[in-house]
Amino acid sequence: MTTLSLHGAGIARGDRGRSRWLVRGVDLELRSGADAGELVALVGPNGAGKTTLLRLMAGVWAPSEGAMRLDGADLHTLPRRRLARRIAYVPQSSTPALDFTVSELVAMGRYAHQGWLGAPAPRDHERVRAALERCDAAHLAGRSAAHLSGGELQRVLIARCLATEAEILVLDEPTANLDVAHVLEIMELLAELAGAGRGVVLALHDLALARRFADRVALLAGGRLVAAGPAGDVLSAERVEQVFGVRVVGDLRDATAPLRFEAVSREDRPPC
């Protein structure tokens, strides 16, 4: 079992003297392990700091204050290669380098397991094949990554995360630019992976998806974590109206009930 935890984590960016807090004071945990795997959805309006928080959790950026721990060890004292074997990350709208085939792209997930000059071992090929099969993308193996559809590409990038053998998967809007069928396909895949013991955290814009698939929802607004917990608790009608400025029509607590949103004019919003 692995726990990734943030303790009062925050990050400021910008030039000296003019830096600005993008995210501040976040306490959050993500667990993985045989019976502990979970899918955590990060929701919040544009500019709330979802991408920034995911970069922190992926270990790509270091926090300016607070602490990030992986099983108690400071995340940023771990060497890159070791970190890459434990946390996998797919940035938003990653465009893979064009000339690679799908299997070459997924094989990059094995680099952190190999020596500098070492050619891939049979075990690496086996892992790549298994990861592609798990994501239902084995038939794409020889295709050029440049000619994949959005849904295929997303499955391939998730396959690469699996090839790293990381317990923690961090994905920034994996369902952006996908049609409805592919959105469901990707979300079902991620939920299955969480069920099988992976810790998955992802940014989502669709609250209905978060409600349906996430074990826990973390709601961000203005760089602060407003609430975290089961979707039914976090996504109360009042809070959604406060943070997003929309009125909820439907029952947020019932994951299968139809859901609709209506715009609320600025004056009518309850005070934050």
Partner: protein, 357 residues
């Protein structure tokens, strides 16, 4: 790439299965062209005679008096020139492959982004102030520093979040090259009173490997070997950097350290090559593209294959330069530019669609 991808229905066999062809074929071409290069020239020497001379030197036997003229031609003129052709080609092609990966830009290459001019500036500085006579390491050292300085300038001006857009990179390269070549012109003009020196610098700058000797082989060899080693160690980092620095970091690359090593290797290769051959353009642009078409984009194969392909391509170009208008010679830089410039325009046209100016 579309074609190769469609031709291969499935499996990851594409790059690996063609690698032996590229490497074995390249090695054979290199040997064949090398032999042709030893035989070509105004003095007609029989293959057996050339072989005999080479064997004498390999065994350390004294060359008989009657063969001294042939010995000078083969051992002191043709052999170093042949080796230099291959080495300059390898260094330039490899640096092009490194720069295209580092800048994530298919049009990056040493002569286009100003690295070659930077190296030339360093070398001209050494030549025109008479520093070159003090030690053989002065010219390559200053050339390597010049290339490194030019690369740093381009990185600062043209990259954002580690990526250099096609247009920005080209414009930065154009401006930098213009500035550096103006400086070179100024230095040559300054030296004009010593007519012979200025003529020599201007001639060297045109790009070629005529009238070079073993000392030049020695000037290029350390940079080439070190560049090859550093590049190969970081080949997998380049694969991952192609998707952006964030993804590379998440896949286990120490991004800043890898970039520093790769830039250093590129400067070492360009500087060493320019120090002995002047500005030989377009090799670094064409070769990685040709190799990528056959082997795919994985740098573990692309880098050594580019070096090998560059070696035989420049050797072939130099052979052409020596023989096409015999008894006169073309400049090697002229031949590679004739091959490369149209190819560059073709690439520019192909990439225009995805370029936002």
């Amino acid at each position: 790439m579309a074609l190769t991808a469609e031709l291969v229905p499935s499996g990851s066999g594409r790059p690996r299965s063609r690698a032996p062809l590229v490497f074995a074929g390249g090695a054979l071409l290199l040997l064949g062209l090398g032999a042709a290069s030893l035989l070509a020239g105004a003095a007609e020497l029989a293959p057996a005679q050339v072989l005999r001379i080479l064997l004498w030197h390999v065994r350390g036997v004294d060359v008989p008096e009657s063969e001294h003229v042939a010995d000078v031609i083969v051992w002191s003129l043709r052999l170093p020139r042949t080796l230099l052709g291959a080495m300059v080609g390898a260094a330039l092609a490899l640096s092009g492959a490194l720069l295209q990966g580092l800048f994530r830009n298919p049009l990056a290459s040493p002569s286009i982004i100003g690295a070659s001019e930077g190296a030339a500036f360093g070398a001209v500085l050494a030549l025109s102030f008479g520093l070159a006579e003090r030690s053989v390491v002065v010219v390559p050292t200053l050339a390597i520093l010049g290339a490194f300085g030019a690369l740093l300038a381009v990185v600062r001006v043209a990259t954002r979040d580690g990526h250099a857009p096609v247009a920005t990179l080209l414009l930065a390269g154009v401006a930098l090259s213009a500035l550096l070549s103006a400086l070179n012109t100024w230095l040559i003009a300054r030296a004009w009173e010593e007519h012979e020196a200025a003529r020599r610098i201007a001639y060297w700058l045109m790009g070629g490997i005529a009238d070079r000797g073993w000392v030049h082989v020695g000037m290029l060899l350390p940079g080439l070997v070190a560049g090859l080693l550093v590049a190969q160690v970081h080949a997998k980092d380049l694969d991952r950097l192609l998707e952006g620095e964030e993804t590379a970091a998440a896949l286990g690359v120490e991004v800043e350290r890898a970039k520093a090593w790769l830039l250093g290797a590129a400067a070492l290769l360009v500087g060493s090559a320019v120090a002995v051959s002047g500005v030989v353009g377009f090799v670094g642009l064409i070769v990685p593209h040709l190799v990528r078409l056959v082997l795919g984009a994985g740098h573990r194969l692309l880098l050594p294959a580019s070096a090998l392909t560059g070696a035989w391509l420049v050797l072939a170009s130099d052979l052409f330069a020596r023989t096409a208008v015999a008894p006169r010679e073309l400049h090697l830089g002229v031949v590679t530019s004739f091959l490369g410039a149209p190819f560059f325009l073709y690439l520019l046209r192909r990439h225009r669609a995805e370029t936002v100016l």
